[in-house]
Amino acid sequence: GAGVSQSPSNKVTEKGKDVELRCDPISGHTALYWYRQSLGQGLEFLIYFQGNSAPDKSGLPSDRFSAERTGGSVSTLTIQRTQQEDSAVYLCAGQVNTEAFFGQGTRLTVV
């Protein structure tokens, strides 16, 4: 919604493989968030980027997870050596003033 695109929309990967999830907000999104949502569960905060400040990585569940935001726009969430418990919907949100605009998410399935 409102200019946040995520790709791929669905990803099936084998346990142990690395995956990259992409978030492409429109320009003007001053901040960017990654959340994880397991089936029927709430939003689990992963990471927050704000301008040129150091990102808030406090939500990353393990060192297998990393994210970067290049040029203040596109962001990539990387999960190394995927595990079955990583299966979830990964949501990205861009913030414009007081509103967060979420993408439709990437559904990751680790088999």
């Binding site: 901040a31 905060f45 927050y48 704000q50 808030d56 007081t98 509103e99």
Partner: protein, 110 residues
């Protein structure tokens, strides 16, 4: 540490009834309190929001009640409809970062 605590986790309401979802916070730096609505297969989207200088905000069938002294706010859905069935997230925001509640799954039974 969960900055915003939301309850209940799930809620079932008859059509025409009132749905009430509650949230509580501790950080007095929060100055903006939105509610987001999420339908299956979609990302959450802004539904209604309030600032702490007012105690209530109403938009159609949706009302936010805000109690600054108790650091609590709630979403009331009047005349609940099956189309309101969704997951609802409260959130709070200080100057920069959003903090979301864990969500409430609302089912409105026809």
């Amino acid at each position: 540490q969960q900055q915003v605590k939301q309850s209940p986790q799930s809620l079932i309401v008859q059509k025409g009834g009132i749905s009430i979802i509650n949230c509580a916070y501790e950080n007095t730096a929060f100055d903006y309190f939105p509610w987001y609505q999420q339908f299956p297969g979609k990302g959450p989207a802004l539904l209604i929001a309030i600032r702490p200088d007012v105690s209530e905000k109403k938009e159609g069938r949706f009302t936010i009640s805000f109690n600054k002294s108790a650091k609590q706010f709630s979403l009331h859905i009047m005349d609940s409809q099956p189309g309101d069935s969704a997951t609802y997230f409260c959130a709070a925001k200080p100057r920069n970062q959003f903090y979301f509640g864990t969500g409430t799954s609302l089912t409105v039974i026809p």
